[in-house]
């Protein structure tokens, strides 16, 4: 189910928006007991909006480029009339949102229909979508495996065919990790390009919000809608591609190593680029996240610590205790690393890196091998995403067309060059090198 095909059929009157929404609601109801991607179905609102779309189509009006397309919303975005939980019981007694978040509103204005809110790690602090209050989200392609996080419900919902489009947030990799593990497209836009207003924050310095889609072609339409601009159709022939080496080439699973080698061979990527001090860049992202997250929750932790998911609570409490000089230094390193990233683009137009070390870890034995040693997957799924977070450059996660479980890569562009990313993604999709993995009925 691709968004643009669905919208075309609805706009042409070949399908009714109501029938699409009813089908999607039925699909979620039938399947989600095994996946746990969805936290709340928005059936009444969705059907009401679908009737309005059908009415506009019936009267010859323009229902928008995403007419009737259902979408999922990570549970940290404001949705009018609902309490924004951010995946936590701590916020359960907050008043309901009085407005949709801007990103939700922009999709709705383009005709898209909010179908469900989706599961996440509490307060977006995790890479597993393993939530003490709302449960664990399972990978649609193998329910014994993690979907990744923290936007795992949004990624799994697209992969499961619940909706062809969803919204997530990415601070340290929370779009890129689940997109890779679930086999869908995900975009971490340039820092500050998409408004975080109306979403519950995690790390204000690093937070971004963005979409998951079932195709690169869908991503173009969705990014146009979310930015309110029309992305240029960039020529991709002749783009200089660089493969990130060093940190980004170590610790790959055999499957990811072979897939990435094959991908680079197919595109004749000869250039290897090594960024300096990537370990320190990742460390800086970690320290800033811990500290800002802890500071944000400090007052609630004084009063309501027992209400938190224990794993998140202990991370936040530790983060609140980080000495300020170390956070200050992490921010200096951020400035320094940004300059190194800009230098990397002196010899390349796009950078290629793995999104994660390999396929989705097993739920019962969530371990990755890093530096030759088994380490907890939950803390290390962001190995390749966290350093890039620090620079704030835009990153498109593309699902490689491989056999077996999904594997995703990160494609990095200079700031503001989402047009280059999307055009390249479309070219990969047309050539068959990338393809989302969506469950069919």
């Amino acid at each position: 189910m691709r968004a643009i095909e669905l919208a075309r059929a609805i706009r042409a009157g070949e399908r009714s928006a109501v029938s699409v929404i009813e089908t999607c609601l039925d699909r979620v109801t039938a399947r989600d007991a095994s996946l746990n991607a969805v936290t709340r179905l928005l059936a009444e609102r969705a059907l009401g909006q679908a009737r309005r779309i059908d009415s506009v189509v019936g009267s010859g009006g323009d229902p928008g480029p995403l007419a009737g397309v259902p979408f999922g919303i990570k549970d940290l975005f404001d949705v009018e009339g609902l309490v924004t939980t951010a995946g936590s019981r701590v916020l359960a007694n907050e008043p309901p949102a009085t407005l949709d978040a801007p990103l939700v509103r922009r999709l709705v204005e383009a005709g898209a229909i909010p179908l469900a809110t989706t599961n996440m790690d509490e307060f977006a602090y995790g890479f597993a979508t393993d939530n003490a209050h709302y449960g664990l989200t399972r990978n649609p392609h193998d329910t014994t495996r993690l979907a990744g996080g923290s936007s795992g419900g949004s990624a799994a919902g697209v992969a499961a065919g619940y909706f062809p489009l969803s919204l997530g947030s990415d601070t340290n990799g929370s779009i890129r990790v689940p997109a890779s593990l679930c086999g869908v497209w995900g975009l971490r836009a340039t820092q500050n390009r998409l408004p975080t207003e109306g979403s519950f924050p995690f790390v204000a310095s690093l937070d971004t919000v963005g979409p998951f889609t079932a195709s690169a072609a869908d991503m173009r339409v969705v990014v146009d809608v979310l930015t309110g601009e029309t992305l240029a159709r960039v020529e991709t022939d002749g783009l200089r591609l660089g493969r990130l080496g060093g940190w980004f080439a170590a610790d790959l699973s055999p499957e990811m190593g072979a897939a990435l080698d094959g991908f680079c061979r197919a595109l004749n990527v000869q250039r290897e680029i090594r960024l300096p001090d990537v370990a320190a860049a990742r460390a800086a992202a970690f320290v800033i996240s811990a500290s800002e997250g802890g500071a944000l929750h400090l007052d609630r932790l004084r009063r309501q610590a027992a209400l938190y998911d224990p794993a998140v609570r202990d991370r936040l409490l530790a983060g609140a205790l980080v000495p300020a000089p170390n956070v200050f230094r992490a921010h200096k390193l951020r400035r320094w690393f940004r300059a190194r990233m800009h230098e990397a683009f002196d010899t390349a137009d796009l950078l290629i890196a793995p999104a994660v070390v390999g396929e989705a870890p097993r739920i019962e034995a969530p371990v990755l091998v890093i530096g030759g040693k088994p380490v907890p997957a939950r803390a290390n799924l962001g190995l390749y995403t966290q350093p890039l977070t620090l620079a704030g450059f835009p990153v498109l996660t593309a699902p490689l067309a491989v056999d077996g479980l999904p594997l995703g890569i990160q494609i990095v562009a200079p700031p503001g060059r989402e047009d280059r990313l999307i055009a390249f993604g479309e070219a990969l999709e047309r050539s068959g090198l990338a393809r989302a993995r969506i469950l069919e009925d």
Binding site: Q191, S205, D277, V287, A318, L321, H331, A391
Partner: protein, 57 residues
């Protein structure tokens, strides 16, 4: 100071009472953060480098 004494002292400075049953996990997290703090210190940064509070990528 033991790690637990450090934890309690830092928490007290923030008017934060940390129940004993939370402390072992918090100390584990603090040890992990400490590893990352040490990594940041390995990079030689100019004294006049501006921190990235007002950040444009």
């Amino acid at each position: 100071m033991t790690p637990e004494e450090q934890l309690v002292a830092r928490a007290a400075a923030l008017d934060l009472n940390v129940p004993e049953e939370y402390r072992s996990e918090i100390m584990r997290n603090l040890a992990l953060i400490g590893q990352y703090e040490a990594l940041i210190m390995t990079v030689d940064l100019p004294e006049r480098l501006e921190p990235a509070f007002e950040y444009h990528p």
